[in-house]
Amino acid sequence: MPASDSACTKQMIDNRLSYTLGSSVEGINLAEDIARRAAAEAGFQEEEIHVISMAVREAAINAAQHGNRCDPNKKVQLLVEKEPDRLQITIRDEGKGFDPAQVQDPLAPGNLLRQSGRGIFLIRSYMDEVRFRRLESGMEAVLVKHLRGAPAEHKENPKL
């Protein structure tokens, strides 16, 4: 069952859809639902929709749990931008931020059986472009997936 939209606010800013979500499991589930819907509307195939929703879920978990430390007063912002050839989803938190270079490799033999530490790896595995940036107050993750054979390409010369 799709989660209720009552747990978030939604608005249009500069042609981007902006959602403000709580730092909770419900907020994380909503982020996943929003990403799935946006990916479907953008024209991605089922498998890609699944991995996009997973990547955004992982980014929302990072933002809510590690960034905002589940503080109910801190919010997670989700920005959805659909271009003809790509979908870009930005996730921002209000936490202290982190250095992505310091995140351990979950595939290293000594880390394989660790219980946590796979989120950022999964995000990078599933998306085409991933950028992390420290904000004045918080962290921003920009996730991009390219639409193969997108409508932006010349219709008379389909590349698929």
Binding site: V25, I28, H50, M54, R57, E58, I61, Q65, P106, L107, L112, L113, R114, Q115, S116, R118, G119, F121, L122, S125
Partner: protein, 116 residues
């Protein structure tokens, strides 16, 4: 929501899971299920993931934790019936090499007996 039920086949506990193993929901249910089985002395466990539709990093963490918990108790935890999505996830995280995985329930049950 995740549903869970367990059955005994030739001394092996088969845990049938369905739904999502994700943060705050399925992950907790899986953790509690493993904890209860260990408390009852059940250490030969086959997790049937055939009806699991979605696993996130928290769910993977819980699977790994279940694996090491059972192993530390001298038992074994194996996986049965992976969907393509779950298979791909375990492959990408290299856990496919860690877990003993089967598509054949009877063969999987026998594989425990062999080592017992």
């Amino acid at each position: 929501m995740m549903k869970v039920s367990s059955r005994q086949v030739d001394g092996v506990t088969i845990v049938d899971l369905s739904g999502r193993i994700t943060l705050g929901e399925g992950s907790v249910v899986l953790r509690d299920t493993i904890r209860e089985l260990v408390a009852k002395g059940r250490k030969e466990i086959l997790l049937n993931l055939g009806d699991v539709t979605y696993i996130d990093s928290s769910g993977i963490g819980e699977l790994v934790s279940a694996f090491t918990t059972i192993r530390n108790q001298g038992g074994e935890l194996k996986l049965l019936n992976l969907t393509k999505k779950v298979h791909d996830l375990l492959q990408i995280t290299k856990l496919y090499t860690v877990f003993d995985i089967s598509d054949d329930e009877a063969a999987a049950v026998r594989s425990f007996k062999k080592q017992a």
